[in-house]
Structure formats: C-alpha cells, structure tokens
C-alpha cells in the first residue's frame, strides 16, 4: 500500500493534473497536496474519484494481486477487436 501515491501520480501525470483535478471535482492544489504529502489523509472516495478520473483502477494503484484492466487497455482492446472484426469477419470469434 505504501507506493500507491507513486502509481497514482504516474497515471495522473499521463492524463494531466489539471484535467484530472477537474474531472475528480477537486482543486489542483488539493490534488497536488494528496499526491505529494504522504502524511495527508484523503478520503476514500476522493482517492477513488482521482484514480478513476485518471482512467486507472484503485486495485492497480494498490498493487493488489488481481489485475484490473485499465480504461486505456480497454480502449486499446476495443480498437483491436474493431480492427479484427473489420479485416477478418470470417474468423470464428469463439475459437476452436
């Protein structure tokens, strides 16, 4: 649990702090404080909102054993599926 701020920071920075703060309904200063100050005690829902606004999963930022699919990965998979559907319509999608 100790490095969730680090993982969250990486995800937030990929999206842009200002955008994530806006989507999460908090100020940029609050977001910076939560990400920077290890002694801060943000509420559960605030961290969940920030994480989901960064298209990330709380399970992932906590390094939990199960592997949550991020929204970025879902978007990539959807693009791949659309591509395969378009170019290989004859494929048996249910597999052998």
């Amino acid at each position: 649990m100790s490095n969730w701020r680090e993982r969250l920071s990486e995800s937030v920075d990929r999206m842009g702090r200002r955008k994530v703060a806006k989507d999460a309904g908090i100020s940029l200063a609050t977001l910076n404080h939560i990400l920077r100050d290890e002694k801060s005690q943000p509420t559960f829902e605030t961290v969940v909102d920030i994480t989901h606004s960064a298209w990330q999963n709380v399970g992932w930022i906590l390094g939990e054993g199960r592997y949550p699919i991020t929204e970025e990965e879902r978007a990539r998979m959807r693009a791949i599926i659309n591509f395969l559907d378009k170019h290989f319509p004859q494929l048996d999608r249910d597999g052998p």
Binding site: M1, W4, D23, Q41, P42, T43, F44, E45, T46, V47, V48, D49, H52, S53, W55, N57, V58, G59, W60, L62, E64, G65, R66, Y67, P68, I69, E71, E72, E73, R74, A75, R76, M77, A79, I80, F83, H87
Partner: protein, 226 residues
C-alpha cells in the same frame, strides 16, 4: 459499485462499496474487534465505517480494513479484472502492444497489400550511377511506378541515405511493415506520404518511426535497355 460505461472511458460510480465491505465482514466469520486489530484501527472506527456514520473515511483506513479481511479494494469497487500472475500480465501487455501497433499500421498495411514491392539484387552498378553514389541494386516488381518509367523487372540503382528531407520528392526504396517498396516520397503535413506513379494505386501514409528509408533511386535499367 463501480461501473464502466461501454461508450465512454470515464467511470460512472454509484457507491455501494460499504455494502460489499459489510458482506466481507460477515463472510469472514470474525468479530469486528479481531478485524479492527488486524487493520490497525479502533473497533469504534470500524463500526462507524461499516454503519456509514463515518461518512467520509480516510482512504488508508478503508484499504487497511479491506486488506485485513483478505479482500481487494478493486473487488470492493467492482473493478473489472483478470486473475493473472506476473508472467501472464507481462504476456498480455506484450500481446496488447503488438496488436495495437498492428492496428496503428493498418492503413499502411491495407495499402501495401495492393502495392508493388522491390527485391534486392546482387548486380553491378553501372559506372555512371556509381559515380553519383549508387551502391545498391533492387529489382522492381509490378507496375505501380510505370508513369515514372519504372516497369516490372527493371533494375534500380540506389544511393543509400537515411535523410528524409534529402529524399523528399525523389523516388526512393524504403521498407514499411517488412515490405520493401519503390515509391515517390513526400513529406506532407508532418507525415510521410509514399506515392505510386500509377493511378490504380493509392498513397501510403506512414509515420517516421514506421518507415525505414534505404535510399534514393539514381537510375534504372530495364530489359529493353540491356
């Protein structure tokens, strides 16, 4: 509960994580006191979190309680997930990366399927082209460059270069998605455009990272010339 809209990447949240947490406490068969000790919180705090009296508990508090129950916060929030080990995760990431790259290249691959290729040949470079810097020989396949005077079977003498600006507006030999092509290269609106000289063939757009420039064509020698 966390749900993910199928159309939007944004998450839509309707919270019932507390119900899931209460269910996990019940399913554990442990007393709240024992769970509180494991989580490092007071029994009062645990009780207030579960009952909802503590409306906005700290993130770390909920995580500690959840983990003390042997549960995942991801499960608590109903986040979609696979049960994969580290090696499987790495494999999935590699597959995703590979497929995403293939999809990104798909317009070029579409065009390449109808484009004509060239093949490298071991042959001497005529002196006049050698003096201009030509060191490589390729053989044209097909008729995509017919209006540039290049026909099927022609030998192309190539001056090696990797400089895109130097090669712009010239007929080049390059490799895209593993296929070697002779095309006219244009730099167009920040992208690379590979043009055929036959109206039956469409232009191929590629990113700089996806193109391996081999060189510019200094001249040709066809069967009728030899």
């Amino acid at each position: 509960m966390v749900t993910f809209s199928s159309d939007s990447p944004q998450c839509v949240r309707s919270v019932n994580w507390r119900e899931r947490l209460r269910a996990a406490v019940d399913a554990s068969g442990r007393t709240q006191n024992a769970i509180a000790v494991s989580a490092g919180v007071t029994p009062e705090t645990l009780s207030r979190v579960l009952s909802g009296i503590h409306v906005h508990p700290a993130f770390d508090t909920v995580v500690r309680i959840t983990h003390a129950l042997g549960e995942n916060v991801g499960t608590l929030l109903d986040e979609p997930a696979f049960l994969l080990d580290a090696e499987q995760r790495a494999e999935l990431r590699r597959v995703l990366g590979y497929l995403a790259a293939a999809v990104r290249l798909s317009p070029a691959i579409d065009a390449l399927s109808s484009a004509n290729a060239v093949a490298q040949r071991a042959a001497d470079v005529p002196r006049s082209y050698y003096l201009r810097g030509a060191r490589l020989v390729f053989q044209a396949i097909g008729d995509s460059m017919i209006e540039a005077g290049i026909v099927d079977g022609d030998l192309l003498f190539v001056i090696p270069t990797r400089d895109l600006r130097e090669a712009a507006k010239h007929v080049v030999v390059c490799r895209v998605a593993g296929i070697t092509l002779a095309k006219e290269l244009e730099l167009h609106a920040g992208r690379i455009r590979l043009l055929s000289r036959n109206e039956r063939y469409t232009a191929i757009y590629v990113d700089e990272d996806d193109l391996h420039l081999i060189g510019t064509v200094a001249g040709r020698l066809g069967s009728i010339d030899s």
